[in-house]
């Protein structure tokens, strides 16, 4: 959100056209071309980000993993994706634990920005080191559970497509093609 706003303002303040000025502050002007440029650039971000948000809030990650595996994406790649997604909340809670431990030792973790930064950066060391050792342990435990066997992997969850899914898939494709034609041909 902040990035979008900053981008919008930068775009729109940089405009130096002299026609169609709505308001003149002296050191900067609100112009039609400036507004248009700002909106053009930010709409791209809004479109991309909102698509991603929509996708990840409506798609179960596990389903995505199974679908990717069915498309012959390696199980290592899908595992890395899944576990990274799951790791973020874990890292946050671990970071909180470390900060609490620092606090217990009398290090100031609250106050102004500088004070908080001073407490935060040294806590990154233990956080990263513990994450790395955990990865080592995890590699070994995964090995024990047959992760590196070379057979085709199966899935417990059935992800077969229903007619409705097919219809939506085809519908989306049609809309996409129509939009392309509309944008570039007509």
């Amino acid at each position: 959100m902040i990035i979008v706003l900053v981008m919008f303002f930068v775009q729109f303040l940089l405009d130096e056209s002299t026609s169609a000025v709505y308001y003149d502050f002296g050191f900067f002007k609100i112009t039609e071309a400036g507004l248009a440029a700002g909106l053009r650039k930010t709409k791209l971000i809004v479109a991309i980000v909102s698509t991603l948000i929509l996708f990840f809030s409506t798609t179960d990650l596990e389903d995505l993993m199974i679908a990717l595996q069915a498309m012959n994406v390696s199980h290592v790649a899908t595992f890395v994706m899944m576990s990274t997604m799951q790791m973020i909340p874990e890292m946050i809670s671990k970071s909180k634990t470390i900060m609490a431990a620092q606090q217990a030792r009398g290090i100031e973790t609250e106050g102004n920005l500088l004070l908080r930064a001073k407490a935060f950066f040294p806590s990154l060391g233990p956080l990263i080191i513990s994450a790395v050792t955990e990865i080592e342990d995890k590699t070994i435990t995964l090995e024990v559970r047959g992760f590196s066997t070379e057979n085709k992997k199966t899935t417990l969850k059935d992800l077969s497509k229903r007619p409705m899914d097919r219809a939506l898939e085809i519908g989306a494709l049609v809309v996409f093609v129509v939009l392309l034609i509309w944008r570039f041909v007509i």
Binding site: E62, M65, H75, F79, M82, S83, Q86, M87, E90, E134, D137, K138, T139, I140, T141, L142, E143, V144, R145, G146, F147, S148, T149, E150, N151, K152, K153, T154, T155, L156, K157, D158
Partner: protein, 282 residues
């Protein structure tokens, strides 16, 4: 039939001056339930890692000697074959959770997904193993929201579901509270009833003396005692190797020194009860 045989196995970690294991000779027969014990840092975990070939595949070091599994060198087995043959339950219950599944049910099934087992068969085996270890009530729980003991049971289930011939269990209760410890040992007792061969590393002697048939004591990188449970644990010599005898055994020796006519030194609760009732006439 001999399942596992170690001949003069030695191992030294990189940069370490002294070898961690010097000369291990050990033979494990099919169907045995062997307990390995010894003081901290004696190389019990290293030994498990060697048997599962995590050393030298994942951990470097200088490995000597010969390891035979079913009469063939361990190195001749592929990674996939070893995953199916030798199961391993680790100390830390929480790192054994894959972290990509949302329920215990799926978590246990994950091992079989990796082995490429058919869906219906996976479901059948999950039900079977949950029923065996009596953990059906955890079925829909999130694997990361379990207690230590429950986590360890799930880890055990997800290894057992692969039907390994040999199961290595490395100090499964070292990070658990008494309730969790009890849960894990109850589960191991159930495993003992199946035909899986088990090697259990543990230094809680009171617990292993209740469950294992054979005890191996390590000291200074070598096997110093190896024999039936009641023979090894009734031998006060093991205290020289940093291993205490079980509490009931200690008590029996104490009573004997006070003049009570104890004939058979017990090493587990059941034998102790019989012996003490006889001697104290209660």
């Amino acid at each position: 039939m001999t399942l596992l045989e170690l001949k003069n196995v030695g191992f030294r970690y990189p940069l370490a001056k002294e070898p961690c294991l010097r000369r291990i000779n050990l033979k494990v027969e099919e169907g045995e339930f062997v307990g390995i014990t010894g003081r901290n840092g004696v190389g019990k975990t290293t030994l498990c890692n060697i048997i599962r070939r995590i050393i030298p595949e994942f951990i470097d070091g200088e490995l000597r000697g010969e390891i035979l599994y079913k009469g063939k060198p361990l190195s001749s087995y592929s990674r996939g074959e070893l995953a199916k043959e030798i199961g391993f339950v680790f100390q830390n219950p929480f790192v054994q959770i894959s972290g990509i599944k949302k329920t215990v049910y799926e978590e246990i099934g994950y091992s079989l997904e990796n082995l490429g087992v058919e869906r219906s068969e996976i479901k059948r085996r999950i039900d079977e193993i949950m029923n065996l270890l009596k953990i059906e009530h955890l079925k829909d729980k999130h694997p990361k929201k379990l207690s230590g003991g429950q986590s360890q049971l799930v880890a055990l289930a997800s290894v057992l579901i692969m039907k390994p011939r040999l199961l290595l269990v490395d100090e499964p209760t070292s990070q658990l509270d008494p309730v969790g410890t009890e849960m894990v040992f109850e589960a191991l007792k159930i495993v003992k009833g199946t035909d899986t061969t088990v090697i259990l590393v543990e230094h809680k002697v009171d617990l292993i003396s209740e469950y294992v048939n054979r005890v191996v004591v390590l000291n200074e990188g070598m096997v110093v005692c190896d024999g039936p449970n009641n023979e090894v644990f009734s031998n006060l010599e093991i205290e020289n190797y940093g291993v205490e005898v079980p509490s009931v055994t200690k008590l029996a020796y104490e009573l004997k020194s006070k003049g009570y006519p104890i004939e058979n030194i017990p090493t587990n609760l059941k034998d102790a009860e019989i012996e003490f009732r006889k001697v104290l006439k209660i």
